[in-house]
């Protein structure tokens, strides 16, 4: 089921200098429920502007966007969007700079209370959200300003999770984090999508960090969408990455090169590091020739592995195909 649908969506900043008239233009996009989307693009590609349409912070100057059961059309200004905003959580860049209460708990309760929950229910939501991001309850009484960089970022994301949104939208949540915290954060988002079935949309300019985690990839350039598709489709069109100013992940370069050398399709290649090590040893002759240890013997449990051609979360194939059909019309053709 589509949870967000954009049709010819365009956005123009009100009194901006006319040099860059449209921040978004002719955007067609459909987001399926329960998937992890990575939106990639360089500075000024319009990715932040697009995100802010998902809960009505920005409303279209052209075309329309439907989010859940609310439709925004160009020329109409909608107000009273509390209901929608409780279902679509938007996390802005550097969310930690947006914390303002004395304690973590109060900050976490702010959203639920605004959305009409009782104090008790809000308190419960607060501790649940904190647990969801994997932080201990002890932090509830602390001031947000005492926490470490990675912790404070997680708390800030929890402030949005506290309202239990169906769709979670994050604008560069990993920016300025160290690599380990970044990795943990992506795992957390994957959990939210896998265990709780939430839809996650995340903006980043680092494809390598989401390459194995995301189900769908959206590339943006100068206010338009230049590509939407699965990892498999992305692997088939590396030129789209260069065009959008995105650095190709090392894993992708390796997979393409390996496919050239071995003649095997990239779809069969693995995602995980250990699987890759074995795959390479099995397919290059390097292992058997030089170490004498049969590499494939170490892990018989082949069924549980994720391959590059598969969605990240072990979905049934049927669902995957269905989702594929609903891809937006403009896939890969605009620029």
């Amino acid at each position: 089921m589509a949870i967000v649908t954009c049709r010819q969506l365009g956005y123009r900043y009100r009194d901006e200098d006319s040099s860059r008239a449209f921040a978004l233009h002719g955007v067609n996009l459909e987001l399926e429920q329960g998937l992890f989307y990575a939106v990639l693009g360089s500075t000024g590609s319009g990715k932040s502007t697009l995100l802010q349409h998902f809960n009505g912070i920005y409303q279209p100057s052209e075309g329309e966007i439907q989010v859940l059961d609310v439709t925004f059309q160009a020329g109409q200004k909608k107000k009273g969007l509390k209901e929608l905003r409780s279902r679509v959580g938007l996390v802005f860049q550097f969310p930690e700079q947006q914390l303002f209460e004395e304690t973590v708990e109060k900050d976490l309760m702010f959203g639920p209370i605004q959305f009409g929950k009782s104090k008790e229910a809000a308190r419960e939501a607060a501790s649940k959200a904190l647990a969801e991001v994997g932080l201990s309850r002890e932090l509830l009484e602390r001031s947000p300003f005492e926490l470490s960089g990675g912790q404070i970022r997680k708390v800030a994301i929890a402030t949005v999770l506290a309202s239990e949104p169906e769709l979670i939208v994050l604008d560069e949540p990993t920016a300025t984090l160290d690599p380990v915290s970044r990795h943990e954060l992506i795992e957390l988002l994957q959990e939210l999508r896998r265990k709780e079935g939430r839809t996650v949309v995340m903006v980043t300019h680092r494809l390598d960090e989401v390459f194995c985690a995301a189900d769908r990839f959206v590339l943006m350039k100068e206010g338009t969408i230049t590509f939407t598709g699965t990892r498999q489709e992305l692997l088939e069109s590396p030129e789209r990455l260069a065009e959008a100013g995105i650095v190709e992940p090392q894993m992708m370069t390796l997979a393409l090169e390996a496919s050239r050398r071995t003649g095997l399709p990239v779809a069969e290649m693995p995602c995980e590091l250990d699987d890759w090590a074995e795959w390479l040893m099995n397919h290059s002759g390097l292992a058997s020739g030089q170490s004498g240890q049969p590499a494939h013997a170490s892990d018989p449990d082949d069924d549980n592995r994720t391959a590059l051609g598969q969605p990240a979360a072990h979905e049934p194939i049927a669902e995957e195909e269905q989702a594929g059909e609903l891809r937006p019309a403009g896939t890969g053709e605009e620029g």
């Binding site: 360089s42 500075t43 000024g44 470490s148 960089g149 990675g150 920016a175 300025t176 160290d178 690599p179 380990v180 915290s181 990795h183 300019h205 680092r206 390598d208 100013g245 995105i246 650095v247 992940p249 090392q250 894993m251 370069t253 390796l254 090169e257 390996a258 050398r261 590091l273 250990d274 890759w276 090590a277 074995e278 390479l280 040893m281 290059s284 390097l286 292992a287 030089q290 170490s291 004498g292 240890q293 590499a295 170490s298």
Partner: protein, 269 residues
């Protein structure tokens, strides 16, 4: 070039950060400073140009003690690049911002104009000289900040997480810049960073932990000590991680730094 002897330091009302830290850095060396969060990497960098002062111990830069009398001289030799490009852009145009350091050094106007022009051409920012910082991207601002330091002709560059707010493309461009400074200008470089590729491009990795220099080795050795690297919140690039994983599984392969090398190692052509 840089000598720190038995440094002690603590922030007001906090526990001691360093108790007895010593460190020597040779002229022309490119050093990465790494360590867990809160280990004091940034503090260490700020001690070198006198932005902070140690409670005990001595710091020398190019033979000059970093003390009140000499701090001005020391700062002439040390260019310091901060993390947030916005917080080091002082003026309202690129040209005025590059001029800021020259103005502080009371350089005559004619010479200022020449030097600004020179550095602007070198860093390819001549087209932006009259632009306002708000109209530049993060990467562009950081390039302007580098120009503002290079125009002062320092011998040492300190980068304090200078690339962490930038997108991948800008980060790669910044790394090229570092290589250039290192090779062509023989500049001494000290970089506080979490970026694996940047660390691997440097010559020496110094791990600051528990108020001490906990390890001092080549970047590759650091990544091979997986636990220590993880503790410093570092992750190896995919190709390096992969070659190390293959080695662990009994494959005879040397650690490689990028995927091209890996491909060549696996399928020698």
């Amino acid at each position: 070039m840089i000598r720190m002897e038995q440094i002690a330091f603590h922030y007001p009302k906090r526990e001691a950060l360093f108790e007895n830290l010593s460190l020597h850095i040779e002229k022309g060396q490119w050093v990465s400073i790494v360590g867990p969060n809160g280990a004091g990497k940034s503090t260490l960098a700020k001690l070198i140009n006198g932005l902070l002062s140690p409670a005990a111990g001595q710091i020398q830069v190019d033979g000059l003690p970093v003390t009140r009398e000499h701090v001005d001289e020391v700062r002439k030799k040390v260019g310091y690049l901060f993390q947030n490009p916005d917080n080091q852009f002082i003026a309202t145009t690129v040209r005025d911002d590059i001029a800021f350091g020259l103005e502080n050094r009371a350089i005559p106007r004619e010479e200022m104009l020449d030097r600004i022009q020179e550095v602007a051409v070198e860093l390819q920012i001549a087209d932006w000289l009259d632009r306002h910082p708000a109209s530049l991207s993060g990467g562009q601002k950081q390039r302007v900040a580098i120009a503002g330091l290079l125009v002062l002709q320092p011998d040492i560059m300190i980068w304090d997480e200078a690339t962490s707010m930038l997108d991948e493309r800008s980060k790669q461009a910044m790394m090229e810049q570092l290589k250039e400074l290192h090779q062509n200008r023989n500049m001494t470089i000290l970089s506080v960073t979490h970026d694996a590729e940047e660390i691997l491009a440097s010559e020496r990795a110094i791990v600051i932990k528990n108020g001490q220099v906990a390890a001092d080795m080549t970047p590759l050795e650091l990544f091979e000590q997986e636990e220590l690297a993880y503790e410093c919140k570092l992750m190896p690039p995919f190709a390096l991680a992969l070659s190390m994983a293959m080695k662990k599984k009994g494959c005879r392969i040397a650690p490689v730094q990028d995927e091209r090398e890996l491909v060549n190692a696996i399928w020698p052509s």
